[in-house]
């Protein structure tokens, strides 16, 4: 227990340090007060955006893992990333680069809305059927991803190189033009989500015991699952639309937190995996800025997440 306290304080401190580093790193070598103000003004929305997305993805992943009773699956497998990239590609393709970020708020609402609709359709179609429910849902998500990636590849190959560059920039989390208004819309949603999550924490723990045990202890299992799937759809959609594809981030931080704290207490898990998510994202962005953007953050998260996943699988010797 004392060890846990130490770990908790450690992570909180680390988070604070990373946030400060992120905000100040561009200040190295800057002299004027004006420049200082500009930098902070630009960095702050990005910081908020990353925080909001990181926390939303983490909570969605936690909820998702308790439903599927499996530590290696993440909600991004339902296809959010692919849907998001597809939407962005189609927009550029149909409207041209100029119109692309014309109105980020419309873009945001459109993307979020479409992602939620597609997911809800998938739920509707799949969850009537068999017992293997959620796993099939995932497979369909992966097929959807392949299908959309196919289409995106095709469209991207007939785009002009300029359009392609704009697309890549728009999709990645370089956040060069993070709109503060967007973040301010997303922020209260995130806070609501977290509060809801916190209240629901115990129920989520019971759900993670499996369907039969959950019903035995008095939960309306089916209702709870649907409620949580909708929650996942909304959080993932907002997070992805705000900041871009986040793939395995949830996988990494939730599993890492579980390994560090060795607990099933969802209140602790959400707080500290959320913090870890923020740390990861900020570190990632900062490193990319230092090294010179050789690639995008989603790709790195993908890579690290994937390797970590295989590590877990091999260590536990089962799936």
């Amino acid at each position: 227990m004392a060890q846990n306290k130490k770990l908790q304080t450690g992570i909180i401190s680390l988070a604070i340090i990373v946030i400060i580093c992120y905000m100040l790193i561009k200040l190295i070598g800057v002299r004027s007060l004006f420049a200082l103000k500009m930098i902070v003004k630009v960095r702050f929305p990005k910081l908020l955006a990353l925080t909001v997305s990181g926390v939303l993805v983490t909570s969605a992943s936690l909820v998702f893992q308790s439903i599927v009773n499996n530590r290696i699956l993440t909600p991004s497998m339902l296809g959010f990333d692919a849907i998001y990239i597809a939407i962005q590609t189609i927009i550029i393709f149909l409207l041209g680069s100029v119109n692309f970020l014309l109105n980020p708020i419309y873009n945001f609402i459109l993307s979020t809305g479409l992602m939620i609709i597609v997911t809800l359709i998938m739920y509707r179609l799949v969850l009537q059927k068999s017992k293997n429910n959620v796993v099939i849902l995932l497979l369909i998500g992966l097929i959807l991803t392949t299908f959309l990636n196919n289409m995106v590849t095709f469209l991207q190959s007939i785009m002009s190189p300029d359009e392609y560059l704009n697309l890549s920039a728009g999709i990645s989390i370089s956040l060069t033009n993070m709109n503060l208004d967007l973040v301010l819309i997303a922020l209260p949603i995130m806070i609501t989500c977290i509060v809801l999550f916190y209240c629901d924490a115990k129920r989520l723990e019971i759900i993670s015991l499996g369907e039969d045990n959950a019903i035995n202890l008095g939960l309306s299992y089916n209702k709870e699952v649907i409620k949580h799937l909708i929650y996942i759809a909304i959080s993932m959609a907002i997070a992805t639309a705000l900041v871009g594809p986040l793939s395995f981030l949830g996988l990494i931080v939730v599993n890492l937190t579980r390994e560090i704290f060795k607990t099933n207490n969802y209140k602790i898990l959400i707080i500290f995996s959320g913090l870890l998510a923020i740390i990861f994202l900020l570190l990632g962005i900062t490193i990319l800025e230092i090294v010179g953007h050789i690639t995008t953050l989603p790709v790195i998260i993908n890579l690290i997440g994937g390797i970590y996943l295989f590590y877990i699988v091999i260590k536990e010797n089962k799936i």
């Binding site: 699956l73 497998m77 059927k129 068999s130 293997n132 796993v135 099939i136 995932l138 497979l139 369909i140 992966l142 097929i143 959807l144 991803t145 392949t146 299908f147 196919n150 289409m151 590849t153 095709f154 991207q156 190959s157 190189p161 392609y164 890549s168 793939s247 050789i294 690639t295 995008t296 790709v299 790195i300 993908n302 890579l303 994937g306 390797i307 996943l309 295989f310 699988v313 091999i314 536990e316 010797n317 089962k318 799936i319």
Partner: protein, 324 residues
């Protein structure tokens, strides 16, 4: 029973001949049978230079991928594994990128070599991991495979990004038969070798799929047969990817359809697999070329769309009846 199979096979072959001819004669450059019979030089030139290579490539590529798929399914005893769902295609892509970076002027052969080795190494790695762990639900397998594939793709992405080759890599992902003219597609003929070997070793592959102890009991060298299977699959995957591009899900859906009808006996169904896959891809090809006539939609897109839909249908079918 045998009569039914012969009947089915006749239908398959007839369909194949019809579609093959259709595919060969459709296109921007109209070729009419009359012209060929009249020994019109231009008609024959188009025929031999564009059409025949194209149609032959289609058949070879699809047959190869379907056979690769069924080999993989046999040796892993899992109906959902295929080059698309096991990261093999992504590995091939990585190999090609490495070849491009190290030998920018390299021939197709060099590309093939790197692609093949990359596909083989990553497949072996996956197989080793899968053997060590207990999988509770077989549906997890394609999930793992596709995640594995996306990890490899990330590596490729990072590498490509570092050297500014991102869009080049993207262009490889577009499967198209338009570039298949005489002189560029001959490498595909190599596919005959792995397909033939697959036929010869069919029984061994089936046995090996039942486990190491089972195979040893029957006197089969487990490790070498698995290795042979993976080598054949890697050859086929890299060859088809380099020359044609990806044909998503083909190696998954065709074997599944065939085994649903004919059962798991590889030797018996090999020929049907080849014809059915050719028919499937010929249909996709004809659609790809006629839907937006005279423009051609990449075959990988059409195959991807149909492949996904058919995969979902198969998925529901198999899960409902609880079969493996």
């Amino acid at each position: 029973m045998i009569k039914r199979n012969i009947f089915r096979r006749t239908i398959l072959i007839s369909l194949f001949i019809i579609l093959f001819s259709a595919s060969t004669f459709i296109g921007i450059l109209d070729i009419k049978l009359i012209d060929l019979l009249k020994l019109d030089r231009e008609a024959w030139h188009n025929f031999l230079y564009f059409r025949i290579p194209r149609s032959v490539s289609i058949v070879l590529a699809s047959a190869g991928l379907a056979v690769a798929g069924i080999i993989m399914q046999a040796i892993s005893q899992n109906k959902f594994i295929s080059p698309t769902t096991s990261g093999t295609i992504s590995a091939t892509q990585l190999g090609m990128l490495v070849a491009l970076l190290l030998f920018p002027m390299g021939s197709s052969f060099v590309k093939f070599g790197f692609a093949f080795i990359s596909a083989l190494i990553f497949s072996i790695f996956l197989m080793v991991i899968l053997n060590k762990i207990k999988i509770k639900n077989i549906i997890y397998l394609p999930l793992i495979g596709m995640m594995y594939g996306s990890i490899i793709s990330s590596i490729t992405s990072v590498l490509a990004g570092m050297f500014g080759k991102l869009q080049t890599v993207q262009s490889w992902n577009v499967g198209s038969f338009t570039l298949l003219v005489k002189g560029r597609y001959e490498l595909l003929y190599i596919i005959f070798i792995p397909v033939l070997l697959a036929y010869i070793y069919a029984t061994k592959f089936s046995i090996v799929g039942m486990g190491e102890d089972f195979s040893k009991n029957l006197g089969i060298n487990y490790k070498s047969v698995i290795l042979l299977g993976l080598v054949l699959v890697s050859i086929i995957s890299s060859l088809t990817y380099i020359i044609v591009g990806p044909l998503p899900f083909l190696g998954l859906i065709i074997p599944n359809i065939i085994t649903l009808i004919y059962g798991d006996n590889l030797k018996k169904s090999m020929i049907d697999i080849i014809f059915l896959s050719a028919i499937y891809i010929l249909i996709c090809d004809i659609l790809a070329r006629t839907i937006r006539y005279p423009y051609e939609i990449p075959i990988s897109f059409v195959a991807g769309v149909f492949g996904s839909l058919i995969f979902i249908i198969i998925l529901f079918g198999r899960v409902k009846y609880g079969s493996k």
